[in-house]
Amino acid sequence: MFALRRWWDKNALKAGLIFLAIGTALGVQQTNGAFVNEAFQFLAHPFRGNATPENIENSYILDLQQRVVELENQNQKLRELIDYGENSELDITTPAAVIGRSPDNWWQQLTLNKGTKADVKEGDFVTGPGGLVGRITAVTPHTSRVLLLSDPSSQIGAKISRSRSTGYIRGGAGSQATMQFFEKIPDAKPGDVVVTSSFSRLFPQGVPIGRIASVDSETGPAPVATIQLSVPVSNLEWVDIHPYTPKLDVDAAPAKIVTDDNL
C-alpha cells in the first residue's frame, strides 16, 4: 500500500498526461477526425482562389459521349418496359473543391470543402468530369470525405452500356479497376462504356464509370475485364456532389398486385 502511494506521488502527473493523450486520440478517432478536417479546411480556405470550377475539356466531352450512349440504350429499353423508375443522377447538391488527398496509404480518399452546412450528407455520391468518382463516407459542417472508386474495398454493381451484361467492379488503387462478370460469356469488347447498374445499392444506375481496356477470359469462373476509369483522379480539382440515399433494403416486399377487388 505504501509502495503504491510512493509510485503515485512520483508518477501521478505522467500517468494523468498519458491518460489525457490517449483519451484525446480516442475522441478524435471516434469522431472520425472531425476536428482535424475542420481545421484543415479552415487553413486551406485562403489558398482556394476562384469560385467557379474549370472543366477539363476532353474529360467533359468523354462524359457527354458516355451519357449519350447510355441514353440511347436506355431509350431503346424504355420502349419495351412498362414501368421505369426515376433516374436522379442529374440532381446536383453542390460543386465542391478537392482540398486534400488520403491521409493514409491504404485508403483512397479525397477531402472536399463542402459539408453539412451545404446540405451534403453521408451516402451522397460524387462525380467528376468524366463520370463517377466515389461516395461520401463522413461529413463535418464544412468538409466531407469521399471514398474513391479506385479504393480496393469499393464494390460497385456495373453493366456494359451497349449490351447490358452485368458484373461488379473492384477498385485497383490506381486509374484502373477490374470488373468481374456474372455470366460466362459476356458481350463485352475493349472500348465499351461501363456504367453503374441497378444492382448497385450504393449508387443510382446509369452513372458512367469508364471504358473496358481489355477482357481476360482465361482466369477464374467468369471473365474479368480491366476498366480504365474515365475520371483522372490524381488530377482532380473540382467535383459535383449529388444527393442520394443508398437502398439499404434490397429484399423489399413485393409490389401490391392490383386486382378488381382492391382497386
Partner: protein
C-alpha cells in the same frame, strides 16, 4: 529554494514544451492530406506521424515510444478508418527506435535516422497488410478480395512510402529534435 524568477521561467518553458509537442502533432496531422510537388509518388505521401514517433522515441524509453505510437495511430485512424488500425505499426516503430537507440545501434544524426525511418516505414505498411491478411483469413466479407492483391499493393505502398518518408524525415526531425534537446539541457 530556487529564486522565483527562474522557477517561473521553468514553468514557462514547460508550457512552451507542451505547446510545441502538441502543436507539432497537430501540424503533422494537417499536412498528411497535402500533396505538394515532391511529396507524391503514385499517390502515396510521406508518413509524417511515423517521423514524429521516431523523433520522440529516440531519446526516450520504449514504453514512452509505444504510448506515442498508440496515440498517433488513433489520431490517424480518426482521419481514415478504424480498421486496419495504424496504432500497431506506429507503436512498434516507437518501441524499436527506443531500443535501437538504447543499444547504441542508432545514432542521432540525420542519415541514420533517415535509414531507420526507411526500415520502419516498410514495417508499418507490413503490419497493415498483416491485419488485412488476418481479416481475409478469418472473416466472411473481407475488404480485399484476395491475398495476392493485398501483398502486391503492400509492395508498392511500402517502397513508395519508405522512400518519401525517409527523404522528408530530416525536415521534421531536425527542428523538433533541436527543440527537445534544448529543453532537456535547460531542465
Amino acid at each position: 529554494m530556487a529564486p522565483y524568477r527562474s522557477r517561473r521561467s521553468a514553468t514557462n518553458r514547460q508550457v512552451w514544451n507542451w505547446v510545441v509537442t502538441i502543436g507539432s502533432v497537430f501540424f503533422c496531422l494537417l499536412i498528411l492530406p497535402v500533396r505538394l510537388p515532391g511529396m507524391d509518388i503514385v499517390g502515396v505521401g510521406p508518413n509524417w506521424l511515423l517521423i514524429w514517433v521516431v523523433t520522440w522515441s529516440v531519446n526516450r524509453m520504449p514504453w514512452e515510444g509505444a504510448i506515442a505510437g498508440i496515440v498517433l495511430g488513433l489520431l490517424q485512424d480518426g482521419l481514415s478508418a478504424p480498421f486496419p488500425t495504424h496504432t500497431i505499426g506506429l507503436a512498434i516503430a516507437g518501441i524499436l527506435t527506443a531500443r535501437l537507440h538504447q543499444r547504441r545501434f542508432l545514432q542521432e544524426d540525420l542519415v541514420s535516422v533517415a535509414l531507420v525511418v526507411f526500415g520502419l516505414a516498410v514495417i508499418t505498411e507490413t503490419t497493415m497488410a498483416l491485419q488485412l491478411t488476418a481479416q481475409y483469413l478469418s472473416s466472411e466479407d473481407p475488404l480485399y478480395p484476395s491475398l495476392g492483391i493485398i501483398w502486391q499493393y503492400q509492395q508498392r505502398v511500402a517502397l513508395s512510402s519508405a522512400i518519401l518518408t525517409s527523404l522528408w524525415a530530416p525536415a521534421l526531425y531536425y527542428p523538433l529534435k533541436k527543440w527537445w534537446d534544448r529543453y532537456r539541457l535547460n531542465e
